[in-house]
């Protein structure tokens, strides 16, 4: 495991709040000094627009901006010209639904998604199906929150297959590589979109190895700034897709009677992007690379395995933890039901002990309906957490019992 005390020193928020037990990295991660410094560097040293100025600081900004594209490409095993910067995962998925989905989905099509999707990888497909008259098929899950996928679900009509790599509630790590293989075997024309929001920050992800068509993820969940998301897509599909937003930056030539668009990725990047934030995302990737993604995964696996064991040991039947029983099959996410206490009250009492967890449906209402709970409490782990945090969570839950009786 990492020495989390040492890692914490890189995260300035712990200077201001040394008592903070941050267990909500699934919502957004904390940011290391390296990322914050890079943001400040942009704003203080070369805060110019990109692609426009011929002057030095604009050239510098453009250079740094494109460096992030290369960094991201290398991080996920892709080509830089297939990396598109958007605002977040949500926008990345909507882009695919809008720019390509509208083009290829019609009344005879089927769209396949899973029950464990975050709303951002569910609602765009549901709405596309409504609008274009397609059929929406849902992959169910078993009792342990594992996907019940069978290749028979894919037919010659399946236009789109959208799946999360890691569930933000159950923690389930889906065997996406195997599933994609099965999907493509059943129908090579099915477009496969992987929601990598909870995977890219925590596991080694390589798009070539996965053989998906699109991958979406957010900077803010992987130590980077807010306001930046990444969509990776296969070149030929990006060429085939409609632009997303029209306007500046994405055009080659505009005349009164027609407009010629730029090539991907610029075709999809209309308007001034979050320049400083994109630039600082490179520092986040460097930070993760330095730790090593295999080690990041090892760290989280050990923590989740410890947490599963300790919570059961302490609370037995009183706690219901959702998702796979084996740490091997799950990421650092732990959603649970504790006694009959409402998640709001649990979260509030934990907050009084400076433990930050999430309470609610975590943007996965269809999943909560299937689990037959209104809401859950969710603790999630990242590189700066350790076993001590698990013990504090346990103390916190003891306090909940004491206060609420």
């Amino acid at each position: 495991m990492f020495d989390s005390q040492k890692i914490k020193k890189d995260f300035p928020i712990f200077e201001k709040h040394p008592e903070l037990v941050y267990l909500d990295s699934t919502a957004t991660s904390l940011k290391p000094r390296q990322v914050i410094d890079k943001l400040v560097e942009y704003y203080t040293q070369y805060s110019a627009n990109v692609f426009r100025g011929i002057y030095k600081i604009s050239e510098k900004a453009t250079e740094e901006f494109e460096k992030t594209r290369e960094k991201i490409a290398q991080f996920i095993g892709a080509k830089p010209e297939e990396v598109i910067f958007v605002r977040n995962t949500t926008e990345a998925i909507n882009l695919v639904a809008y720019s390509l989905g509208r083009k290829i989905v019609d009344k005879s099509s089927e769209i396949v998604v899973s029950l464990m999707e975050h709303h951002s990888n569910f609602v765009p497909w549901q709405q596309l199906a409504f609008e274009n008259g397609a059929r929406l098929k849902i992959i169910n899950i078993d009792k342990q929150g594992r996907l019940l996928f069978s290749p028979e679900m894919i037919t010659r009509r399946t236009a789109i297959f959208a799946l999360t790599y890691v569930s933000n509630v159950l923690g389930t790590i889906n065997p996406v590589k195997k599933i994609i293989k099965q999907v493509k075997k059943a129908n090579p024309n099915t477009i496969v979109i992987i929601d990598g929001a909870q995977a890219v920050p925590h596991l080694k992800v390589d798009v070539k190895e996965l053989a998906c068509d699109f991958l979406a993820f957010s900077s803010h969940k992987m130590l980077g700034p807010t306001g930046v998301g990444v969509l990776w897509g296969k070149r030929e599909l990006l060429e085939q897709a409609f632009p997303f937003l029209y306007g500046g930056e994405m055009i080659r030539e505009v005349r009164l009677e027609e407009t010629v668009f730029k090539e991907p990725p610029y075709k999809f990047e209309a308007g001034t992007p979050a320049i400083g934030e994109v630039i600082a995302l490179a520092s986040a990737v460097e930070y993760l690379e330095k730790l090593g993604m295999e080690k990041v995964r090892e760290h989280e696996k050990e923590l989740i395995s410890y947490a599963l064991e300790r919570l059961k040991e302490e609370f037995g039947e009183k706690i219901t933890i959702f998702g796979p029983e084996e740490a091997e099959e799950r990421g650092g996410v732990l959603a649970f039901k504790f006694g009959s206490y409402h998640p709001h009250d649990i979260a509030q009492i934990l907050d009084s002990l400076n433990i930050a967890v999430r309470a609610g449906h975590h943007c996965a209402m269809p999943l909560h309906q299937a689990l037959k709970v209104e809401a859950t409490t969710r603790a999630s782990f990242y590189i700066y957490n350790d076993k001590e945090d698990v013990e504090k969570l346990i103390e916190g839950l003891r306090r909940v019992e004491k206060v609420l009786g």
């Binding site: 409402h342 709001h344 009492i349 009084s352 206060v403």
Partner: protein, 122 residues
């Protein structure tokens, strides 16, 4: 430390007042907060311009359920018009606890339900 879970609030949560269905209510409204699953159904009885009795049923967090219970006592006998003019400041004063924007929604749910029930009955 646990301001939010002071005796007063917990007492109302654990022993809710005016809890249960009201036969012969003049108006009733059920509201829920799908974000967290808080749910309240209120029943009101009118007497001229006044609200003469309020009952509630529901499930959810301590704050939402205690607020409902407190309101059934606090608003009884008040003029409809007066109740309709109440806002979050009233609720905060009544509960005497600090509530952030996310938690405030729980506290306001029962008030909104009662106000809606009055409006429906007008």
């Amino acid at each position: 430390m646990m301001d939010l879970y002071r005796e007063y609030i917990l007492n109302h949560y654990q022993n809710p007042r005016n809890f249960g269905k009201m036969e012969g209510a003049d108006s009733s409204v059920k509201l829920s907060n799908p974000l967290c699953g808080d749910e309240v159904k209120v029943y009101v009885k009118f007497e001229g311009e006044k609200v003469s009795k309020i009952n509630f049923e529901g499930k959810g967090c301590v704050i939402s359920q205690a607020s409902a219970s407190i309101l059934t006592e606090e608003l009884k006998g008040k003029k409809k018009e007066e109740i309709l003019s109440l806002d979050k400041n009233f609720m905060l004063k009544l509960l005497r606890i600090p509530l952030g924007p996310n938690r405030l929604k729980c506290a306001l749910l029962p008030l909104e339900a009662i106000q809606k029930a009055i409006k429906n009955g007008l």
